[in-house]
Protein backbone atom coordinates (compact mmCIF):
# COMPACT_ATOMS: atom_id res chain seq x y z
CA UNK A 1 0.00 0.00 0.00
CA UNK A 2 1.27 3.25 -0.89
CA UNK A 3 0.07 6.35 0.57
CA UNK A 4 -0.24 9.20 -1.77
CA UNK A 5 0.53 12.09 0.32
CA UNK A 6 -2.26 14.56 0.17
CA UNK A 7 -1.07 17.73 -1.38
CA UNK A 8 -1.54 20.30 1.23
CA UNK A 9 -4.20 22.87 0.44
CA UNK A 10 -2.74 25.86 -1.32
CA UNK A 11 -2.21 28.74 1.02
CA UNK A 12 -5.10 31.05 0.41
CA UNK A 13 -4.73 34.18 2.39
CA UNK A 14 -7.86 34.48 4.46
CA UNK A 15 -8.85 38.13 4.69
CA UNK A 16 -9.00 39.36 8.21
CA UNK A 17 -12.59 39.94 9.23
CA UNK A 18 -13.20 43.64 9.01
CA UNK A 19 -15.62 45.33 11.35
CA UNK A 20 -18.17 47.63 9.70
CA UNK A 21 -16.69 50.61 11.50
CA UNK A 22 -13.22 49.86 10.19
CA UNK A 23 -14.59 49.36 6.70
CA UNK A 24 -16.39 52.68 6.88
CA UNK A 25 -13.21 54.36 8.05
CA UNK A 26 -11.35 52.86 5.05
CA UNK A 27 -13.95 54.26 2.69
CA UNK A 28 -13.83 57.59 4.45
CA UNK A 29 -10.06 57.75 4.23
CA UNK A 30 -10.25 57.18 0.49
CA UNK A 31 -12.32 60.35 0.17
CA UNK A 32 -9.54 62.91 0.00
CA UNK A 33 -11.74 65.98 0.21
CA UNK A 34 -13.42 64.61 3.33
CA UNK A 35 -10.02 63.94 4.92
CA UNK A 36 -8.96 67.50 4.11
CA UNK A 37 -12.19 68.75 5.67
CA UNK A 38 -11.58 66.66 8.78
CA UNK A 39 -8.03 68.01 9.07
CA UNK A 40 -9.25 71.58 8.74
CA UNK A 41 -11.95 71.04 11.38
CA UNK A 42 -9.36 69.52 13.68
CA UNK A 43 -7.19 72.59 13.18
CA UNK A 44 -10.08 74.99 13.88
CA UNK A 45 -11.05 73.09 17.03
CA UNK A 46 -7.46 73.00 18.25
CA UNK A 47 -7.04 76.73 17.69
CA UNK A 48 -10.35 77.43 19.41
CA UNK A 49 -9.37 75.39 22.45
CA UNK A 50 -5.73 76.32 23.02
CA UNK A 51 -5.46 79.47 20.85
CA UNK A 52 -6.70 81.96 23.44
CA UNK A 53 -4.03 80.72 25.89
CA UNK A 54 -1.19 80.99 23.38
CA UNK A 55 -2.23 84.25 21.76
CA UNK A 56 -3.25 86.33 24.72
CA UNK A 57 -4.21 89.59 23.03
CA UNK A 58 -7.77 90.47 24.08
CA UNK A 59 -10.27 90.57 21.21
CA UNK A 60 -12.06 93.47 22.92
CA UNK A 61 -9.23 95.88 23.63
CA UNK A 62 -8.09 98.63 21.35
CA UNK A 63 -4.52 97.65 20.56
CA UNK A 64 -3.54 99.71 17.53
CA UNK A 65 -4.86 102.42 15.23
CA UNK A 66 -8.26 101.50 13.73
CA UNK A 67 -8.34 100.26 10.13
CA UNK A 68 -4.75 98.99 10.15
CA UNK A 69 -4.42 96.69 7.14
CA UNK A 70 -2.98 93.18 7.51
CA UNK A 71 0.80 93.10 7.75
CA UNK A 72 1.18 96.78 8.62
CA UNK A 73 1.77 96.31 12.35
CA UNK A 74 2.73 93.67 14.87
CA UNK A 75 -0.91 92.54 14.70
CA UNK A 76 -0.51 90.53 11.55
CA UNK A 77 -4.13 90.46 10.39
CA UNK A 78 -4.64 94.15 11.15
CA UNK A 79 -7.31 95.85 13.24
CA UNK A 80 -11.00 96.64 12.90
CA UNK A 81 -12.88 99.93 13.14
CA UNK A 82 -12.27 100.15 16.89
CA UNK A 83 -8.62 99.19 16.61
CA UNK A 84 -9.27 95.68 17.93
CA UNK A 85 -6.97 92.87 16.84
CA UNK A 86 -8.64 90.82 14.09
CA UNK A 87 -6.51 87.72 14.70
CA UNK A 88 -7.54 87.70 18.37
CA UNK A 89 -11.16 88.11 17.25
CA UNK A 90 -10.92 85.15 14.90
CA UNK A 91 -9.28 82.91 17.51
CA UNK A 92 -11.73 83.78 20.28
CA UNK A 93 -14.73 83.95 17.97
CA UNK A 94 -14.09 80.40 16.84
CA UNK A 95 -14.72 79.21 20.36
CA UNK A 96 -18.21 80.65 20.49
CA UNK A 97 -19.13 79.69 16.95
CA UNK A 98 -17.97 76.09 17.35
CA UNK A 99 -19.54 75.72 20.81
CA UNK A 100 -22.89 77.05 19.67
CA UNK A 101 -22.71 75.00 16.46
CA UNK A 102 -22.11 71.75 18.31
CA UNK A 103 -24.59 72.41 21.13
CA UNK A 104 -27.36 73.49 18.77
CA UNK A 105 -26.75 70.52 16.48
CA UNK A 106 -26.86 68.20 19.48
CA UNK A 107 -30.20 69.67 20.57
CA UNK A 108 -31.60 69.44 17.04
CA UNK A 109 -30.45 65.84 16.60
CA UNK A 110 -31.81 64.77 20.00
CA UNK A 111 -35.25 66.26 19.38
CA UNK A 112 -35.33 65.10 15.75
CA UNK A 113 -34.31 61.52 16.45
CA UNK A 114 -36.69 61.21 19.40
CA UNK A 115 -39.68 62.59 17.54
CA UNK A 116 -38.87 60.63 14.38
CA UNK A 117 -38.25 57.41 16.28
CA UNK A 118 -41.55 57.57 18.12
CA UNK A 119 -43.48 58.53 15.01
CA UNK A 120 -41.88 55.84 12.88
CA UNK A 121 -42.00 53.13 15.51
CA UNK A 122 -45.53 53.51 16.78
CA UNK A 123 -47.17 54.83 13.63
CA UNK A 124 -50.91 55.48 13.65
CA UNK A 125 -52.19 58.28 15.83
CA UNK A 126 -48.82 58.93 17.49
CA UNK A 127 -47.25 59.37 14.07
CA UNK A 128 -50.08 61.62 12.98
CA UNK A 129 -49.77 63.97 15.95
CA UNK A 130 -45.98 64.09 15.90
CA UNK A 131 -45.90 64.81 12.19
CA UNK A 132 -48.38 67.65 12.61
CA UNK A 133 -46.06 69.16 15.20
CA UNK A 134 -43.14 68.70 12.84
CA UNK A 135 -45.04 70.45 10.06
CA UNK A 136 -45.78 73.31 12.40
CA UNK A 137 -42.08 73.82 13.07
CA UNK A 138 -41.36 73.48 9.38
CA UNK A 139 -43.51 76.45 8.45
CA UNK A 140 -41.93 78.71 11.04
CA UNK A 141 -39.47 81.07 9.37
CA UNK A 142 -36.46 79.68 11.24
CA UNK A 143 -34.41 82.80 11.57
CA UNK A 144 -37.25 85.10 12.60
CA UNK A 145 -38.39 82.64 15.24
CA UNK A 146 -34.89 82.31 16.65
CA UNK A 147 -34.58 86.10 16.58
CA UNK A 148 -37.71 86.44 18.70
CA UNK A 149 -36.57 83.81 21.18
CA UNK A 150 -33.10 85.28 21.57
CA UNK A 151 -34.47 88.80 21.93
CA UNK A 152 -37.10 87.87 24.54
CA UNK A 153 -34.72 85.70 26.54
CA UNK A 154 -31.19 87.04 26.86
CA UNK A 155 -28.57 86.27 24.18
CA UNK A 156 -26.50 83.78 26.15
CA UNK A 157 -24.70 80.89 24.48
CA UNK A 158 -27.19 78.38 25.82
CA UNK A 159 -30.26 80.41 24.79
CA UNK A 160 -28.88 80.87 21.29
CA UNK A 161 -28.15 77.15 21.03
CA UNK A 162 -31.66 76.28 22.19
CA UNK A 163 -33.21 78.77 19.78
CA UNK A 164 -31.28 77.26 16.88
CA UNK A 165 -31.91 73.71 18.06
CA UNK A 166 -35.67 73.97 18.34
CA UNK A 167 -36.09 75.20 14.78
CA UNK A 168 -33.58 72.86 13.14
CA UNK A 169 -34.79 69.39 14.03
CA UNK A 170 -37.54 68.83 11.46
CA UNK A 171 -35.41 67.32 8.67
CA UNK A 172 -33.85 64.96 11.17
CA UNK A 173 -37.27 63.90 12.46
CA UNK A 174 -38.58 63.16 8.97
CA UNK A 175 -35.54 61.16 8.02
CA UNK A 176 -35.54 59.19 11.29
CA UNK A 177 -39.22 58.45 10.90
CA UNK A 178 -38.69 57.11 7.38
CA UNK A 179 -35.78 54.93 8.45
CA UNK A 180 -37.69 53.59 11.44
CA UNK A 181 -40.64 52.70 9.26
CA UNK A 182 -38.32 50.83 6.90
CA UNK A 183 -36.31 48.99 9.56
CA UNK A 184 -39.39 48.21 11.67
CA UNK A 185 -40.57 45.73 9.04
CA UNK A 186 -37.26 43.84 8.87
CA UNK A 187 -37.22 40.17 9.84
CA UNK A 188 -34.71 40.62 12.63
CA UNK A 189 -36.96 43.18 14.29
CA UNK A 190 -39.93 40.84 14.00
CA UNK A 191 -37.79 38.08 15.47
CA UNK A 192 -36.87 40.23 18.46
CA UNK A 193 -40.49 41.13 18.91
CA UNK A 194 -41.55 37.49 18.80
CA UNK A 195 -39.28 36.63 21.71
CA UNK A 196 -40.89 39.37 23.74
CA UNK A 197 -38.52 42.31 23.43
CA UNK A 198 -39.78 45.51 24.98
CA UNK A 199 -40.48 48.56 22.86
CA UNK A 200 -37.70 50.55 24.48
CA UNK A 201 -35.21 47.82 23.66
CA UNK A 202 -36.48 47.58 20.08
CA UNK A 203 -36.17 51.32 19.55
CA UNK A 204 -32.80 51.78 21.20
CA UNK A 205 -30.88 48.60 20.65
CA UNK A 206 -32.41 47.05 17.55
CA UNK A 207 -33.78 49.68 15.19
CA UNK A 208 -31.71 52.75 15.99
CA UNK A 209 -28.30 51.19 15.25
CA UNK A 210 -29.61 49.89 11.93
CA UNK A 211 -31.21 53.19 11.03
CA UNK A 212 -28.16 55.19 12.07
CA UNK A 213 -25.99 55.51 8.92
CA UNK A 214 -28.08 58.09 7.02
CA UNK A 215 -28.86 59.86 10.30
CA UNK A 216 -25.17 60.34 11.06
CA UNK A 217 -24.68 62.10 7.74
CA UNK A 218 -27.56 64.49 8.37
CA UNK A 219 -26.33 65.07 11.93
CA UNK A 220 -22.95 66.14 10.52
CA UNK A 221 -24.66 68.55 8.15
CA UNK A 222 -26.72 69.88 11.06
CA UNK A 223 -23.49 71.16 12.62
CA UNK A 224 -22.73 73.14 9.47
CA UNK A 225 -26.25 74.55 9.42
CA UNK A 226 -26.02 75.54 13.07
CA UNK A 227 -22.73 77.36 12.48
CA UNK A 228 -24.28 79.32 9.60
CA UNK A 229 -27.33 80.01 11.72
CA UNK A 230 -25.26 81.31 14.64
CA UNK A 231 -23.30 83.47 12.24
CA UNK A 232 -26.55 84.95 10.91
CA UNK A 233 -27.90 85.68 14.38
CA UNK A 234 -24.73 87.30 15.62
CA UNK A 235 -24.42 89.23 12.37
CA UNK A 236 -27.78 90.76 13.27
CA UNK A 237 -26.37 91.63 16.69
CA UNK A 238 -28.11 88.80 18.52
CA UNK A 239 -25.15 87.35 20.34
CA UNK A 240 -23.65 87.78 23.77
CA UNK A 241 -22.20 91.31 23.63
CA UNK A 242 -19.33 90.24 25.91
CA UNK A 243 -18.01 87.60 23.56
CA UNK A 244 -16.60 87.77 20.08
CA UNK A 245 -17.97 85.55 17.34
CA UNK A 246 -17.27 85.35 13.61
CA UNK A 247 -20.72 86.51 12.61
CA UNK A 248 -20.55 89.41 15.03
CA UNK A 249 -17.22 90.53 13.54
CA UNK A 250 -18.88 90.72 10.12
CA UNK A 251 -21.87 92.58 11.52
CA UNK A 252 -19.71 95.03 13.46
CA UNK A 253 -17.41 95.80 10.56
CA UNK A 254 -20.02 95.88 7.83
CA UNK A 255 -20.68 99.64 7.97
CA UNK A 256 -16.97 100.22 7.39
CA UNK A 257 -16.33 97.95 4.42
CA UNK A 258 -15.07 100.84 2.32
CA UNK A 259 -12.19 101.53 4.75
CA UNK A 260 -11.85 98.08 6.17
CA UNK A 261 -12.92 95.28 3.88
CA UNK A 262 -10.64 92.72 5.60
CA UNK A 263 -12.66 93.04 8.81
CA UNK A 264 -15.48 91.42 6.85
CA UNK A 265 -13.65 89.24 4.35
CA UNK A 266 -11.51 87.40 6.93
CA UNK A 267 -14.23 86.15 9.30
CA UNK A 268 -16.49 85.38 6.33
CA UNK A 269 -13.81 83.26 4.71
CA UNK A 270 -13.26 81.35 7.94
CA UNK A 271 -16.99 80.66 8.34
CA UNK A 272 -17.14 79.53 4.72
CA UNK A 273 -14.13 77.22 5.08
CA UNK A 274 -15.40 75.73 8.34
CA UNK A 275 -18.87 74.99 7.00
CA UNK A 276 -17.35 73.69 3.76
CA UNK A 277 -15.15 71.37 5.80
CA UNK A 278 -18.21 70.12 7.69
CA UNK A 279 -20.08 69.44 4.44
CA UNK A 280 -17.07 67.64 2.97
CA UNK A 281 -16.90 65.44 6.04
CA UNK A 282 -20.64 64.84 5.63
CA UNK A 283 -20.02 63.85 2.00
CA UNK A 284 -17.28 61.47 3.05
CA UNK A 285 -19.50 59.95 5.75
CA UNK A 286 -22.21 59.49 3.17
CA UNK A 287 -19.82 57.58 0.91
CA UNK A 288 -18.54 55.51 3.81
CA UNK A 289 -21.86 54.70 5.47
CA UNK A 290 -24.31 54.61 2.59
CA UNK A 291 -22.28 53.08 -0.26
CA UNK A 292 -25.41 52.35 -2.27
CA UNK A 293 -26.21 56.01 -2.56
CA UNK A 294 -22.86 56.95 -3.99
CA UNK A 295 -22.53 58.99 -7.15
CA UNK A 296 -25.69 60.82 -6.53
Amino acid sequence: MTYISQPSAPEVPVPEPVSPARQAWRMFRAHHAAMAGLAFLGFICLVSIVGPYLYTVSPRDMVWAPFTPPGASQYILGTDYLGRDLLAGLINGGRITITVGLTAALIAVTIGVTVGAFAGFFGGQVDNILMRITEFFQVLPYLLFAMVVVMLFSPTIINISIAIGIVSWTDMARLTRGEFMRVREMDYVKAERSIGARNAWLIWAVILPNAAPPLIVVAALAIGNAILFEAGLSFLGLSDPNTMSWGRMIGDNRPFILDNSWGVTLPGTIIFLTVLAVSLVGDGLNDALNPKLRHR
Binding site: L236, L258, D283
Partner: protein
Protein backbone atom coordinates in the same frame (compact mmCIF):
# COMPACT_ATOMS: atom_id res chain seq x y z
CA UNK B 1 -59.79 68.47 -0.56
CA UNK B 2 -58.75 72.04 -1.14
CA UNK B 3 -61.17 73.09 1.59
CA UNK B 4 -59.52 70.70 4.02
CA UNK B 5 -56.17 72.16 3.11
CA UNK B 6 -57.45 75.67 3.89
CA UNK B 7 -58.86 74.63 7.25
CA UNK B 8 -55.55 73.03 8.07
CA UNK B 9 -53.73 76.24 7.13
CA UNK B 10 -55.94 78.14 9.58
CA UNK B 11 -55.16 75.72 12.36
CA UNK B 12 -51.45 76.22 11.71
CA UNK B 13 -51.89 80.00 11.81
CA UNK B 14 -53.70 79.73 15.11
CA UNK B 15 -50.88 77.58 16.47
CA UNK B 16 -48.33 80.21 15.46
CA UNK B 17 -50.33 82.87 17.33
CA UNK B 18 -50.65 80.75 20.46
CA UNK B 19 -46.92 80.10 20.41
CA UNK B 20 -46.21 83.79 19.91
CA UNK B 21 -48.24 84.58 22.94
CA UNK B 22 -46.79 81.80 25.04
CA UNK B 23 -43.30 83.09 24.22
CA UNK B 24 -44.04 86.57 25.54
CA UNK B 25 -45.64 85.01 28.56
CA UNK B 26 -42.61 82.85 29.29
CA UNK B 27 -40.06 85.58 28.69
CA UNK B 28 -38.39 86.96 31.77
CA UNK B 29 -39.28 90.48 32.87
CA UNK B 30 -42.54 91.94 34.13
CA UNK B 31 -43.95 94.77 31.99
CA UNK B 32 -45.63 96.44 34.97
CA UNK B 33 -42.42 96.38 37.03
CA UNK B 34 -40.61 97.91 34.06
CA UNK B 35 -43.18 100.67 33.69
CA UNK B 36 -43.18 101.34 37.42
CA UNK B 37 -39.40 101.38 37.39
CA UNK B 38 -39.44 104.03 34.69
CA UNK B 39 -41.95 106.06 36.69
CA UNK B 40 -39.66 106.00 39.69
CA UNK B 41 -41.47 103.49 41.89
CA UNK B 42 -45.02 103.08 43.17
CA UNK B 43 -47.00 101.63 46.04
CA UNK B 44 -48.04 97.95 45.91
CA UNK B 45 -51.68 99.02 45.60
CA UNK B 46 -50.89 101.08 42.52
CA UNK B 47 -49.00 98.17 40.97
CA UNK B 48 -52.02 95.93 41.51
CA UNK B 49 -54.22 98.57 39.92
CA UNK B 50 -51.99 98.74 36.85
CA UNK B 51 -51.97 94.99 36.53
CA UNK B 52 -55.75 94.99 36.53
CA UNK B 53 -55.86 97.88 34.05
CA UNK B 54 -53.74 95.97 31.53
CA UNK B 55 -55.54 92.70 32.18
CA UNK B 56 -52.34 91.14 33.46
CA UNK B 57 -54.06 89.81 36.58
CA UNK B 58 -56.22 87.53 34.41
CA UNK B 59 -55.32 83.85 33.99
CA UNK B 60 -53.23 82.82 30.95
CA UNK B 61 -56.10 81.54 28.80
CA UNK B 62 -58.15 84.73 29.19
CA UNK B 63 -55.18 86.86 28.23
CA UNK B 64 -54.63 84.55 25.27
CA UNK B 65 -58.26 84.88 24.18
CA UNK B 66 -58.02 88.68 24.38
CA UNK B 67 -54.87 88.60 22.26
CA UNK B 68 -56.43 86.32 19.63
CA UNK B 69 -59.50 88.53 19.50
CA UNK B 70 -57.37 91.59 18.85
CA UNK B 71 -55.38 89.87 16.13
CA UNK B 72 -58.61 88.75 14.48
CA UNK B 73 -59.55 92.42 14.23
CA UNK B 74 -56.20 93.20 12.64
CA UNK B 75 -54.80 94.76 15.79
CA UNK B 76 -51.22 93.60 16.19
CA UNK B 77 -50.40 96.08 18.89
CA UNK B 78 -48.59 99.36 18.90
CA UNK B 79 -44.93 99.88 18.20
CA UNK B 80 -43.60 102.05 20.98
CA UNK B 81 -40.41 102.90 19.11
CA UNK B 82 -41.93 103.81 15.75
CA UNK B 83 -44.96 105.26 17.50
CA UNK B 84 -47.36 103.73 15.00
CA UNK B 85 -49.66 100.69 14.89
CA UNK B 86 -47.64 97.63 13.94
CA UNK B 87 -49.95 96.71 11.09
CA UNK B 88 -49.41 100.07 9.45
CA UNK B 89 -45.64 99.65 9.79
CA UNK B 90 -45.71 96.25 8.15
CA UNK B 91 -48.06 97.26 5.40
CA UNK B 92 -45.47 99.16 3.36
CA UNK B 93 -42.81 96.53 3.89
CA UNK B 94 -44.67 93.51 2.52
CA UNK B 95 -44.47 94.45 -1.16
CA UNK B 96 -40.68 94.87 -1.31
CA UNK B 97 -40.10 91.58 0.54
CA UNK B 98 -42.40 89.65 -1.76
CA UNK B 99 -40.76 91.25 -4.81
CA UNK B 100 -37.30 90.25 -3.58
CA UNK B 101 -38.21 86.73 -2.51
CA UNK B 102 -40.26 85.86 -5.58
CA UNK B 103 -37.57 87.15 -7.95
CA UNK B 104 -34.89 85.19 -6.13
CA UNK B 105 -36.91 81.97 -6.04
CA UNK B 106 -37.78 82.26 -9.74
CA UNK B 107 -34.13 82.81 -10.69
CA UNK B 108 -33.01 79.92 -8.50
CA UNK B 109 -35.73 77.55 -9.72
CA UNK B 110 -35.40 78.13 -13.45
CA UNK B 111 -31.62 78.39 -13.59
CA UNK B 112 -31.21 75.58 -11.06
CA UNK B 113 -33.46 73.18 -12.96
CA UNK B 114 -31.75 74.05 -16.23
CA UNK B 115 -28.24 73.48 -14.84
CA UNK B 116 -29.33 70.32 -13.05
CA UNK B 117 -30.80 68.88 -16.24
CA UNK B 118 -27.65 69.70 -18.18
CA UNK B 119 -25.47 68.09 -15.52
CA UNK B 120 -27.67 65.00 -15.32
CA UNK B 121 -27.30 64.32 -19.03
CA UNK B 122 -23.53 64.09 -18.81
CA UNK B 123 -22.96 62.54 -15.42
CA UNK B 124 -19.19 62.61 -15.37
CA UNK B 125 -18.54 65.72 -17.42
CA UNK B 126 -16.79 68.81 -16.06
CA UNK B 127 -20.18 70.50 -15.88
CA UNK B 128 -21.49 67.81 -13.58
CA UNK B 129 -18.48 68.14 -11.30
CA UNK B 130 -18.76 71.90 -11.40
CA UNK B 131 -22.39 71.62 -10.27
CA UNK B 132 -21.31 69.46 -7.33
CA UNK B 133 -18.58 71.88 -6.30
CA UNK B 134 -20.86 74.86 -6.81
CA UNK B 135 -23.62 73.39 -4.68
CA UNK B 136 -21.15 72.62 -1.88
CA UNK B 137 -19.85 76.18 -1.98
CA UNK B 138 -23.35 77.62 -2.15
CA UNK B 139 -24.43 75.57 0.85
CA UNK B 140 -21.41 76.58 2.91
CA UNK B 141 -21.41 80.34 2.42
CA UNK B 142 -23.23 82.68 4.81
CA UNK B 143 -25.75 84.51 2.64
CA UNK B 144 -25.14 87.91 4.25
CA UNK B 145 -21.45 87.58 3.54
CA UNK B 146 -22.09 86.80 -0.13
CA UNK B 147 -24.13 90.00 -0.25
CA UNK B 148 -21.31 92.08 1.22
CA UNK B 149 -18.79 90.53 -1.17
CA UNK B 150 -21.04 91.26 -4.15
CA UNK B 151 -21.33 94.87 -2.98
CA UNK B 152 -17.55 95.10 -2.73
CA UNK B 153 -17.14 93.77 -6.26
CA UNK B 154 -20.12 95.15 -8.19
CA UNK B 155 -20.83 98.38 -6.35
CA UNK B 156 -17.44 99.49 -5.05
CA UNK B 157 -14.70 98.07 -7.29
CA UNK B 158 -16.88 98.15 -10.42
CA UNK B 159 -19.64 100.66 -9.76
CA UNK B 160 -22.33 98.94 -11.83
CA UNK B 161 -25.04 98.49 -9.23
CA UNK B 162 -26.22 100.71 -6.36
CA UNK B 163 -24.97 99.81 -2.87
CA UNK B 164 -28.27 99.84 -1.06
CA UNK B 165 -31.95 100.68 -1.10
CA UNK B 166 -34.78 100.03 -3.51
CA UNK B 167 -34.62 103.35 -5.37
CA UNK B 168 -32.73 106.62 -5.16
CA UNK B 169 -33.86 108.46 -2.07
CA UNK B 170 -34.32 111.65 -4.15
CA UNK B 171 -35.88 109.85 -7.07
CA UNK B 172 -38.10 111.79 -9.41
CA UNK B 173 -38.60 108.92 -11.83
CA UNK B 174 -42.11 107.73 -12.52
CA UNK B 175 -43.71 104.95 -14.50
CA UNK B 176 -41.35 102.84 -16.56
CA UNK B 177 -38.26 104.78 -15.48
CA UNK B 178 -39.10 104.10 -11.83
CA UNK B 179 -39.64 100.43 -12.59
CA UNK B 180 -36.22 100.23 -14.23
CA UNK B 181 -34.68 101.99 -11.26
CA UNK B 182 -36.19 99.43 -8.87
CA UNK B 183 -35.02 96.63 -11.15
CA UNK B 184 -31.51 98.07 -11.12
CA UNK B 185 -31.56 98.04 -7.32
CA UNK B 186 -33.14 94.61 -7.21
CA UNK B 187 -30.48 92.71 -9.17
CA UNK B 188 -27.76 92.37 -6.52
CA UNK B 189 -29.98 91.42 -3.55
CA UNK B 190 -32.04 89.01 -5.66
CA UNK B 191 -28.88 87.38 -7.03
CA UNK B 192 -27.47 87.03 -3.52
CA UNK B 193 -30.58 85.34 -2.22
CA UNK B 194 -30.90 83.21 -5.37
CA UNK B 195 -27.29 81.96 -5.25
CA UNK B 196 -27.82 79.96 -2.07
CA UNK B 197 -30.95 78.23 -3.33
CA UNK B 198 -29.64 77.94 -6.88
CA UNK B 199 -27.00 75.56 -5.59
CA UNK B 200 -29.62 73.56 -3.77
CA UNK B 201 -32.10 73.31 -6.66
CA UNK B 202 -29.34 72.45 -9.11
CA UNK B 203 -28.22 69.53 -7.02
CA UNK B 204 -31.75 68.37 -6.37
CA UNK B 205 -32.88 68.52 -9.99
CA UNK B 206 -29.68 66.78 -11.09
CA UNK B 207 -30.25 63.88 -8.70
CA UNK B 208 -33.93 63.65 -9.57
CA UNK B 209 -33.20 63.83 -13.31
CA UNK B 210 -30.58 61.08 -13.09
CA UNK B 211 -33.24 58.85 -11.52
CA UNK B 212 -35.78 59.63 -14.19
CA UNK B 213 -33.37 59.24 -17.11
CA UNK B 214 -32.81 55.61 -16.09
CA UNK B 215 -36.50 54.77 -16.24
CA UNK B 216 -38.17 52.64 -18.88
CA UNK B 217 -40.43 55.25 -20.37
CA UNK B 218 -37.45 57.46 -21.16
CA UNK B 219 -35.82 54.52 -22.90
CA UNK B 220 -39.07 53.96 -24.81
CA UNK B 221 -39.22 57.60 -25.79
CA UNK B 222 -35.69 57.38 -27.12
CA UNK B 223 -36.39 54.07 -28.82
CA UNK B 224 -39.21 55.52 -30.83
CA UNK B 225 -36.77 58.08 -32.11
CA UNK B 226 -37.85 61.25 -30.34
CA UNK B 227 -35.50 64.17 -30.51
CA UNK B 228 -33.32 64.54 -27.45
CA UNK B 229 -34.81 67.84 -26.28
CA UNK B 230 -38.30 66.40 -26.48
CA UNK B 231 -37.28 63.39 -24.41
CA UNK B 232 -35.66 65.61 -21.83
CA UNK B 233 -38.02 68.53 -21.58
CA UNK B 234 -41.34 66.90 -22.41
CA UNK B 235 -41.04 63.41 -20.96
CA UNK B 236 -38.34 63.35 -18.31
CA UNK B 237 -38.52 66.84 -16.82
CA UNK B 238 -42.22 66.56 -16.00
CA UNK B 239 -41.44 63.85 -13.50
CA UNK B 240 -38.06 65.08 -12.43
CA UNK B 241 -39.41 68.47 -11.41
CA UNK B 242 -41.82 67.10 -8.80
CA UNK B 243 -39.37 66.86 -5.88
CA UNK B 244 -37.97 70.25 -6.84
CA UNK B 245 -41.41 71.86 -6.60
CA UNK B 246 -42.10 70.16 -3.27
CA UNK B 247 -38.85 71.40 -1.82
CA UNK B 248 -39.32 74.88 -3.20
CA UNK B 249 -42.53 75.05 -1.17
CA UNK B 250 -41.07 73.52 1.95
CA UNK B 251 -38.02 75.73 1.81
CA UNK B 252 -39.94 78.94 1.53
CA UNK B 253 -39.55 79.60 5.24
CA UNK B 254 -35.83 79.33 4.81
CA UNK B 255 -35.89 81.71 1.86
CA UNK B 256 -37.71 84.25 4.01
CA UNK B 257 -35.05 83.82 6.69
CA UNK B 258 -32.40 84.42 4.06
CA UNK B 259 -34.34 87.49 2.96
CA UNK B 260 -34.05 88.96 6.47
CA UNK B 261 -30.26 88.83 6.18
CA UNK B 262 -30.10 89.96 2.56
CA UNK B 263 -32.43 92.89 3.19
CA UNK B 264 -30.32 93.95 6.14
CA UNK B 265 -27.16 93.91 4.01
CA UNK B 266 -28.70 95.84 1.11
CA UNK B 267 -30.93 98.15 3.12
CA UNK B 268 -33.88 96.78 1.15
CA UNK B 269 -37.00 98.35 2.70
CA UNK B 270 -38.85 95.11 3.45
CA UNK B 271 -39.96 93.12 6.46
CA UNK B 272 -36.40 91.93 7.06
CA UNK B 273 -34.96 95.39 7.66
CA UNK B 274 -37.97 96.16 9.81
CA UNK B 275 -37.20 93.03 11.84
CA UNK B 276 -33.58 94.13 12.17
CA UNK B 277 -34.60 97.62 13.28
CA UNK B 278 -37.04 96.22 15.81
CA UNK B 279 -34.30 94.03 17.27
CA UNK B 280 -32.06 97.05 17.72
CA UNK B 281 -34.93 98.86 19.48
CA UNK B 282 -36.16 95.76 21.33
CA UNK B 283 -39.55 96.40 19.80
CA UNK B 284 -41.27 93.10 20.65
CA UNK B 285 -44.77 93.73 19.19
CA UNK B 286 -43.31 94.53 15.79
CA UNK B 287 -41.02 91.53 15.73
CA UNK B 288 -43.83 89.18 16.79
CA UNK B 289 -46.12 90.56 14.13
CA UNK B 290 -43.41 90.05 11.50
CA UNK B 291 -42.93 86.48 12.69
CA UNK B 292 -46.65 85.85 12.46
CA UNK B 293 -46.93 87.43 9.05
CA UNK B 294 -43.96 85.52 7.63
CA UNK B 295 -45.33 82.26 9.01
CA UNK B 296 -48.66 83.01 7.31
CA UNK B 297 -46.82 83.63 4.06
CA UNK B 298 -45.05 80.28 4.35
CA UNK B 299 -48.31 78.51 5.17
CA UNK B 300 -50.04 80.04 2.15
CA UNK B 301 -47.11 79.18 -0.13
CA UNK B 302 -47.13 75.59 1.13
CA UNK B 303 -50.83 75.37 0.46
CA UNK B 304 -50.40 76.70 -3.06
CA UNK B 305 -47.50 74.31 -3.68
CA UNK B 306 -49.70 71.44 -2.62
CA UNK B 307 -52.38 72.49 -5.04
CA UNK B 308 -49.87 73.10 -7.87
CA UNK B 309 -48.38 69.71 -7.16
CA UNK B 310 -51.74 68.10 -7.75
CA UNK B 311 -51.95 69.94 -11.02
CA UNK B 312 -48.53 68.79 -12.25
CA UNK B 313 -48.92 65.22 -11.06
CA UNK B 314 -52.07 63.56 -12.42
CA UNK B 315 -51.47 60.58 -10.12
CA UNK B 316 -52.25 62.77 -7.12
CA UNK B 317 -55.53 63.84 -8.67
CA UNK B 318 -56.50 60.26 -9.41
CA UNK B 319 -56.01 59.34 -5.77
CA UNK B 320 -58.84 61.53 -4.60
Amino acid sequence: MILRRIVYAFVLLLAVLVMNFALIHLAPGDPVETLVGEMGGATPEFIEQMRAAYGLDQPFYIQLATYLGRVAQGDFGFSLYFNRPVLELMFHRIGPTILLVVTAVLIALTLGTFLGVLAAQRRNSWLSHLVTVFSLVGYSTPVFWVGIMLILVFSVALPIFPIAGMYQSDTSATGLAFLLEVLHHLILPAMTLALIYLAFYTRLSRASMIDVLDSDYVRTARAKGLKNYLVIYKHALRNAILPVVTFAGLQFGQVLSGAVLVETVFGWPGLGTLAYDSILRRDTPTLLAILFFSASLVIVVNMVTDIVYRYIDPRMRAEQ
